[in-house]
Amino acid sequence: MTTATESLEVVERAKRGDQEAFFWLYRKHQSRLAVFIRYQMSETLRRRYEIDDVLQELFLRAFRDLPRFEYQSAGSFLRWLFQIARNTLHDLARFEDRQKQQAEHEAPLHMASSQYDVAPAYSQTPSRILFQRERVSQLLKDLDALAEADREIILLAKVEGLTIDEMGQRLGKSKAQISLSLHRALKRLRSANEAQI
């Protein structure tokens, strides 16, 4: 992970309107976001959208909201990005529900932004290429082998980078419970990994 000082400086630069700083920040966290989105997308959403669609929408939203982002501590930028990712997925799911109610399944749907042909600069490295990387694909295989609850807690800790406190609040459990479940989940991930090898 990057040092706190570097993040602060780059975030501040991005907030001042330095687009390259923003692209860089975004690209740095993009793979975590991609993995997160992969597991957070519902079946229906996955049938409709590519992970890259969601990433692109996320990118647009992040860029738009950047002036409102407040740097508090190391990792708060990443957490902010994940919050946007959650909102994006939530909005998409709601949009899908509405579409379903209106029974307009035949019409191919496009992401809000894609119809304006605005492609983020990172589009040369879509999530598929990312997932083909050896270590990433191995990680995904291991995560796939896990139970839903285990995977969720690992994603929170290692992909979103939440503290134990935050995870406790998120899941409504005590710190000790979280620590224990996380530990067990990590142990199972390790054995899953060893079993695969």
Binding site: V10, A112, Y116, L130, R133, V159, E166, H183
Partner: protein
């Protein structure tokens, strides 16, 4: 990292955890992960050695965590922050001779800007560098240089100036003025309106200067307009944002579209080609922000914002800030028109309008949004009115009058002064000016001026009309439609009069009718000194295509009005050439007979135009047709001898009296209004009403006149009972007819029938009292009683109705 030495603080340790190794490992793993989450980078080896009892399982778990991190880092580590490296390298190598790089100021779509110091002059400068990635593209590189050179030619206080242009081995760069200041919107926030507008005016001047040099800024936003403490704005970042070809546009688009969408024009957001009017839109957004403190198309949702930008009208500034004067809102909304051609064409036009506002004059801006807004509401209201009409809450007449009034409300921007809803000082002055020119030119036609050289006279009018034409076309191009119309209208008049002046002064076209006083109306009847009818005829003929061309060009209906009126004059002149004066001397009524075909032609032309959905043009033709019809029928009745003779022959009892002819005319008008009423057209409904309007007068006045002559005749020959009967008949007919019109006014909703009926009823009653009922007090008493009865009947209608029904039941 101090935590590492004492990783588990006593407060966090739980005795229960010690008993359960899993719980303890979990606890320590949590500690480690929390450290990471806080942005620290503890190392696994030393960390684990702090817990000898659980070192091995702890290390296993932490290595699993590390693997996850590595999976992501493999991706991220390959991404360096190129700018930082690039900056570093630049600062290190310092490739700009004579300048010392200090720090980076910012980065745009294609370039980067650094603060540097001019080592010789010891002043700060800004150096703009094209990104090396773009510099490799020869067309972009050329464009960058070209823009720099174009900018170098610009010397304007509101535009940051360029000092020099250079090229490193990799990329071109230019050195420009370093501007210290705050963005426009931040500076302006605390200023009073006048100062804000003065500031904005300076910006407009700068952009106008840019547009004058055929440059488009393309990226106007407050961040690109810095204001120094002396409140002088400087515009930065010109024309560099937009690459030439599409492949490159795609590359830079996310940044461009995202970063400044708030100030983008709709066509820019669609990535279409932009021209100065796109800058005008951005200026409109900036002005809007200055006026209201808000952005006109801001939306939290990106997609909604683009939609709003493309389709929605902004909230009117005065609705946000009611203290704003209307003029400045007009300027702002005109700049924010969706259609680029409806905006100010270039910043100079906008600056001029703002200058007008600042000096307290009327602005020329006429944003279409008002009439659009009104027409939306009106459409809805008209639908309501129509349903009210169907439900018989309002009458057809009322509905039509609403429609006409509403049509007026949607003021066309190119309307001429008689169609305008509001008379403004500027408009009235404009037309007064045009009229004075016309009168002046007419004087040259009417009178002989010995001391005036004929060439001078002709040249004066020609120059004036040429100038007015040029200005008119220019105003029209600038979208100052109303002003353009005034000028062009004046031009047509001056053109026509100019031709007459030239014909007169050089004696052109006069030979045709030389010595034929019988063909000259102007020379013989009116005291016109010079102009012959043939000259007039040719001048009119030459004017018609001009009117037609202007109508085609401007689509303004006023030229149709002029065309119609002038062609009517031409018809008159034609009749004169055919020897109308001769006919008049033989038979005064004959010319009027020839007017009927003219009227019919006008009717037909009006009808055709209306079918072609040119309602505003057909309106004028119908108007002229009705007028000519009145003239023709009245003229025939008054002067056309054979008409009276025919009447006398067919109905000898009429004695060919002219009053009867007017009554016949009334019948003709009735027939015409009946025809027009049954044509499904709003214009013809108005025509029908115009015909209907005169029927009452055409019947009641002749009846009155016939009555008087009949009484006189009888007085002369008191013994003749037939005459007595006739006189008495008319005495009775007049009040009866008046009463009929009074009641007919209900069916047709004609108030003039009611008014003239009332008047002639009184006249008729007085005539009765004068003659037939002379000395009988019964009439006034009877009138008073019957009047009272009528009023009571109405007041107690319900009971009368009941009596009536009872009677029927029996």
């Amino acid at each position: 990292m101090s935590d590492l030495k004492n990783p588990i603080s006593p407060a966090n340790s739980q005795p229960a955890a010690d008993a359960d190794p899993d719980g303890r490992i979990a606890e320590v793993v949590s500690q480690f992960l929390d450290l990471q989450a806080r942005g620290e980078t503890p190392e696994i080896g030393p960390f684990c050695r702090h817990y000898p009892d659980i070192e091995i399982p702890l290390r296993n778990i932490l290595e699993t965590c590390l693997k996850i991190d590595q999976a992501f880092e493999e991706e991220t580590s390959s991404i360096s922050f190129p700018e930082t490296d690039e900056d570093e390298r630049l600062f290190h190598s310092n490739p700009f001779p004579g300048y010392k790089l200090l720090r980076r100021l910012g980065a745009g779509g294609m370039g980067r800007v650094y603060l540097a110091e001019d080592e010789r002059l010891r002043r700060p400068v800004a150096i703009k560098v094209l990104l090396p990635a773009f510099a490799a593209n020869p067309s972009l590189r050329g464009r960058f240089l070209e823009e720099a050179r174009a900018l170098a030619k610009l010397n304007h206080p509101a535009i940051a100036s360029i000092f020099s242009l250079g090229e490193t081995t990799e990329t071109p760069y230019f050195v420009m003025e370093y501007v210290e200041g705050l963005p426009l919107n931040e500076t302006a926030r605390a200023l009073p309106l006048q100062q804000k507008l003065h500031l904005f005016y300076q910006v407009l001047e700068g952009i106008a200067f840019l547009h004058d040099h055929h440059l488009v800024h393309r990226d106007l936003k407050p961040a690109n307009i810095l204001v120094n403490p002396q409140l002088a704005p400087k515009i930065l970042d010109f024309g560099l944002a937009k690459p030439l070809d599409d492949s490159l546009r795609r590359l830079t688009q996310p940044g461009q579209v995202m970063g400044t969408l708030d100030y983008f024009s709709p066509e820019q957001a669609r990535a279409e080609t932009v021209d100065p009017s796109s800058d005008i839109f951005s200026l409109g957004v900036i002005l809007y922000e200055l006026l209201t403190g808000r952005l006109p198309f801001a939306h939290s949702d990106f997609q909604r914002q683009i939609e709003s930008l493309a389709h929605e009208d902004p909230e009117w500034p005065r609705r946000i800030n009611p203290d704003l004067p209307r003029g400045i809102q007009d300027i702002c909304l005109k700049a924010l028109e969706k259609n680029p051609s409806a905006r100010y064409r270039i910043a100079r036009d906008m600056a001029e309008d703002l200058a007008r506002f600042l000096s307290g004059e009327f602005v020329l801006a006429m944003p279409s949004v008002y009439s659009r807004h009104l027409s939306g509401k009106i459409e809805r209201h008209m639908r309501e009115l129509e349903s009210w009409n169907q439900e018989e809450i309002i009458t057809r007449t009322e509905l039509n009058s609403f429609r006409r009034r509403y049509d007026r409300l949607i003021d066309r921007e190119d309307a001429w002064i008689m169609e305008m809803r509001q008379l403004t000082v500027s408009q009235v002055t404009l037309y007064l000016g045009g009229w004075l020119m016309t009168i002046g030119a007419v004087l040259l036609v009417l009178f002989n001026f010995q001391q005036l050289n004929r060439h001078v006279a002709v040249l004066t009018v020609a120059a004036a009309s040429g100038l007015v034409l040029g200005l008119g076309l220019q105003q029209w191009h600038k979208n100052q439609r109303r002003m353009g119309i005034a000028f062009l209208l004046t031009f047509t008049l001056l053109f026509f009069i100019g031709l007459l002046v030239a014909f007169n002064e050089y004696q052109w076209l006069s030979y045709w009718t030389q010595g034929r006083r019988d063909l000259e109306f102007l020379l013989s009847q009116l005291d016109f000194e010079k102009t012959t009818n043939v000259q007039l005829w040719w001048a009119l003929l030459a004017l018609l295509p001009v009117c037609y061309a202007l109508r085609r060009y401007t689509k303004a209906s006023v030229f149709s009005l002029e065309l119609t009126f002038m062609s009517l004059l031409l018809a008159g002149a034609t009749l004169l050439r055919m020897g109308m004066l001769d006919w008049i001397s033989k038979d005064q009524g004959r010319p009027f007979l020839y007017m009927i075909p003219v009227a019919v032609v006008y009717f037909a032309a009006g009808y055709i135009l209306e079918r072609l959905t040119l309602a505003s043009d057909s309106r004028y033709l119908y108007g002229h047709a009705v007028f000519v019809m009145y003239m023709a029928l009245s003229g025939i009745a008054l002067f056309h001898e054979p008409y009276a003779q025919w009447l006398k022959a067919v109905f000898p009892w009429t004695r060919g009296q002219v009053e009867y002819l007017f009554i016949v005319n009334a019948v003709i008008y009735w027939g015409l209004q009946f025809l027009c009423d049954h044509a499904a057209s709003i214009q013809l409904l108005a025509v029908a009403k115009a015909f209907r309007f005169v029927i009452a007068g055409h019947i009641l006045i002749p009846l009155w006149g016939l009555g008087i002559t009949a009484t006189e005749r009888w007085n002369k020959h008191a013994a003749l009972t037939a005459l007595k009967f006739e006189a008495r008949l008319f005495e009775v007919l007049l009040p009866l007819a008046a009463a009929l019109f009074i009641y007919y006014s209900i069916a047709r909703q004609m108030k003039n029938y009611l008014a003239s009926g009332m008047i002639f009823l009184a006249v008729g009653v007085i005539r009765l009292e004068e003659d037939w009922l002379k000395g009988h007090a019964a009439l006034p008493i009877a009138l008073i009683i019957s009047g009272l009865l009528l009023m009571l009947i109405v007041a107690s209608r319900a009971s009368l109705l009941k009596l009536f029904l009872k009677y029927r039941r029996r």
